[in-house]
């Protein structure tokens, strides 16, 4: 797959158009403004903590996590329910902010970004795969996959080529014009994967991506993501309970009660 997303010349929906993302002042850059330094981490958390408040009650979800997730790896965040896996993914995905500590994604301290800049950063650099697929129900499979490319302002012809290419890769070219409710669970998750990958993001975050699938479909989805990761060298970060998925991990981070209790290096980078 072509990892580059060209957006500078594109005409897109003005309501969804974004500005250029944040840039650092030094070091090598991709054209989307983030570092592609192989030595740097895709994700770096330093003493990141998150506490939720319900009325007068404070509930700590993360209690100060420091970790590095290298580029181009298949990393798993594992732990029991309520251990803080999803909160950790939310911080990495820049859809939540830590109450303490810092979060760097692709070399950018995302805590320093304003809301619009953060949205633009997500649009360019981060793909999401949700447990419940979360496809836009009124859009076809093709349109759901195309959506992120509209957000980055890609030209229509290029979008069409790229969308078809990714749908072909996930085996859904023939179902491109079906709406989500006309697809099976496995097919919907394939659409979600295609949507997450179509813009060739630096990081893909997947929260329990196989939880709503039977084991056979789950296995095929894992195989698909593994294959895509091998081709695109995108950094995948999963939150999962699924032993089948965990067996494919390059790195595993074990979270318990909001703390990182173990980090295992399962295999070297390909």
């Amino acid at each position: 797959m072509n990892p580059a997303v060209t957006h500078s010349q594109a005409k897109s929906d003005p309501g969804l158009r974004r500005d250029d993302g944040p840039r650092r002042d030094d070091g090598p850059r991709r054209d989307d403004g983030v570092h592609a330094d192989a030595a740097a981490s895709a994700v770096r958390l330093h003493d990141a903590a998150k506490t939720y408040r319900t009325g007068d009650v404070e509930v700590p979800a993360l209690r100060g996590i420091t970790l590095d997730i290298p580029y181009h790896r298949f990393s798993m965040v594992v732990g029991a329910s309520g251990s803080g896996k999803s909160t950790l993914l939310n911080l990495i995905g820049c859809i939540d902010a830590p109450t303490r500590g810092t979060v760097e994604v692709c070399g950018v301290n995302v805590g320093a970004l304003e809301d619009d800049a953060l949205a633009d950063f997500r649009a360019k650099n981060i793909g999401f795969i949700f447990q419940t697929f979360s496809l836009v129900p009124v859009l076809s499979a093709y349109e759901n996959v195309e959506y992120p490319l509209v957000l980055v302002g890609m030209r229509e012809a290029e979008r069409r080529e790229r969308t078809n290419e990714v749908l072909e890769a996930v085996g859904l070219r023939a179902h491109a014009h079906r709406r989500p409710n006309e697809l099976s669970g496995g097919q919907r998750q394939r659409v979600a994967i295609a949507r997450a990958l179509v813009k060739a993001p630096q990081v893909v975050l997947a929260d329990e991506p196989t939880a709503n699938l039977d084991s056979e479909t789950g296995a095929s989805i894992i195989e698909l993501m593994k294959r895509v990761q091998a081709q695109s060298r995108t950094t995948f970060v999963f939150a999962t309970h699924d032993p089948q998925l965990m067996s494919h991990a390059d790195e595993t981070f074990l979270i318990r009660d909001g703390r990182l209790v173990e980090q295992r290096h399962e295999r070297s980078a390909p």
Partner: protein, 468 residues
């Protein structure tokens, strides 16, 4: 198609029943506003037409007449009015814009019917006019209302003795029988003793005999009235009027007092053997929109020629027109406000439900990188589309209903009118009304979506994604 637009349209059709209910409210509001607006527009056109046919667009009076002269029109006659007429009719600016330029004479007096044993008399408000000019004025119908009156020959330039009266005056003076006026009862005297009225009637009859007119003076088939008025010099004067017909005048006070006659007869009554003047020079224009131009030009001519004259338009001379227009305008605004509020609440309710149901979707697209403004725009567009679709359906509905009403041949008697006129709803001719209503309701629907759209935009991404 633009993704934002496509998503909005599909979300509207996805919640078909809800969108249908809201769209129906918008459509009903739009249709009601357009139909009422069309009806009001027709009333305005009808009132304007009847006034312009009767008193023209502009009248030139001697200064002071408008404020003080109606009690004594003879004292406010325009000197050398033929010169003023020439000035107006030959003016290069006014000439192409004017349809009719004609003099009129207002007068007050007493009318008596002493023929066939009648002893009835009554004060009257009279107007002397040029019959052919009156006929041309009554054909004016710029607004295409259909309220035109073809010349019936009852007043003619060649017969200075003829006139017409209001149906009320005909009834009071016992002319219903001779004039064959429908639904007009014959005079019934309260008693044989006519009381204090008896003497003036006899005096008037005697005076008519002295002046050489009087009962039975003409071989005319029409009944006659003796008209008594004070001349400009203060002397009593009497003429005989051949009553060619009776016409209802709409307003009872006018109907009971109205007499229209040939200008020459009116001048003879008011000015006797003195200089014949007129009360007003009336201008009827081809198009009402030229009124300000012609008015300004008249004022310029008056100032340039040092004439002691003033100009008044039909709105000043017929304040009823302005009052009715203001009243219907206020009712239209009130109805529009009610419809606007209904549309506002319907759209707010629908869009709030939409936001609630699509909270997870909002979280998803925000996570994908849609800005808050993008979410806001999405919902505002959906509200605007519901408004636009509803208003379009409403406009079509209004056009169909208006066409049906206009072809049904209904009639009614508008305020101030004496005869039934077609009941019409002018929607199709008022593009401004249709577009204005469409645009206002679409904007209201858009504004109504703003609140739910802001709520959607402010949602926390994480909370939205957790929403079930």
């Amino acid at each position: 198609m633009n993704l934002l637009f496509k998503t909005a349209l599909r979300n509207i059709s996805r919640n078909a029943r809800r969108s249908l209910m809201t769209g129906s409210a918008v459509a009903a509001g739009a249709a009601a506003m357009m139909l009422f607006g069309g009806f009001v527009a027709y009333i305005f056109a009808g009132l304007e037409t009847s006034n312009v046919q009767r008193i023209g667009h502009l009248s030139v009076f001697r200064s002071g007449y408008f404020l003080f002269g109606s009690g004594n029109p003879a004292a406010y006659g325009i000197d050398d009015y033929k010169r003023v007429m020439d000035l107006v009719t030959n003016d290069p600016v006014i000439k192409p814009l004017a349809n009719v330029v004609t003099p009129t004479q207002s007068l007050l007096g007493i009318a008596g019917n002493f023929s066939g044993g009648n002893q009835a008399s009554k004060t009257f408000l009279g107007v002397g006019l040029v019959p052919s000019a009156r006929d041309r004025m009554r054909l004016w119908d710029e607004r295409k209302t259909g309220q035109v009156f073809k010349a019936d020959g009852r007043l003619a330039d060649g017969d200075e003795t003829r006139g017409i009266v209001g149906v009320g005056l005909a009834r009071i003076l016992g002319l219903c029988g001779p004039l064959k006026v429908a639904n007009c009862p014959a005079v019934t005297s309260p008693s044989a003793d006519a009381g204090p009225d008896a003497k003036p009637r006899a005096d008037l009859a005697d005076l008519a005999q002295l002046e050489g007119g009087g009962t039975g003076a003409s071989k005319d088939v029409h009944p006659h009235l003796e008209l008594l008025a004070a001349t400009a010099g203060g002397a009593p004067n009497v003429v005989s009027l051949s009553v060619a017909g009776a016409e209802p005048q709409g307003v009872r006070e006018l109907d009971d007092n109205f007499i229209a006659m040939h200008l020459a007869l009116a001048q003879q009554l008011v000015y006797g053997r003195g200089e014949h003047k007129v009360t007003a020079i009336v201008l009827q224009l081809h198009r009402s929109e030229d009124l300000p131009v012609v008015r300004a030009r008249l004022q310029h001519l008056i100032a340039q020629n040092h004439l002691d004259l003033e100009v008044r338009d039909f709105g000043e001379l017929a304040p009823f027109y302005v009052q009715v227009k203001a009243m219907f305008g206020t009712i239209f605004i009130f109805i529009s406000l009610v419809m606007g509020v209904i549309v506002l609440f319907a759209v707010v309710n629908t869009m709030t439900m939409n936001v609630l149901e699509r909270t997870n979707e909002i979280g998803t697209i925000r996570a994908m990188g849609v800005r808050r403004s993008g979410v806001r725009r999405q919902f505002i567009l959906e509200g605007a589309l519901i408004g636009a679709i509803g208003a379009t359906v409403g406009a079509i509905l209004a056009l169909v209903v208006a066409a049906l009403v206009n072809h049904a041949g209904l009639t009614w008697v508008p305020p101030g009118n004496s005869a039934p006129t077609p009941f019409r709803v002018d929607v199709v001719d008022h593009v401004g009304l249709v577009l204005g209503t469409w645009l206002s309701l679409t904007l209201i629907a858009m504004a109504a979506a703003l609140l739910p759209a802001n709520r959607a935009a402010r949602l926390s991404v994480v909370d939205a994604l957790r929403h079930v």
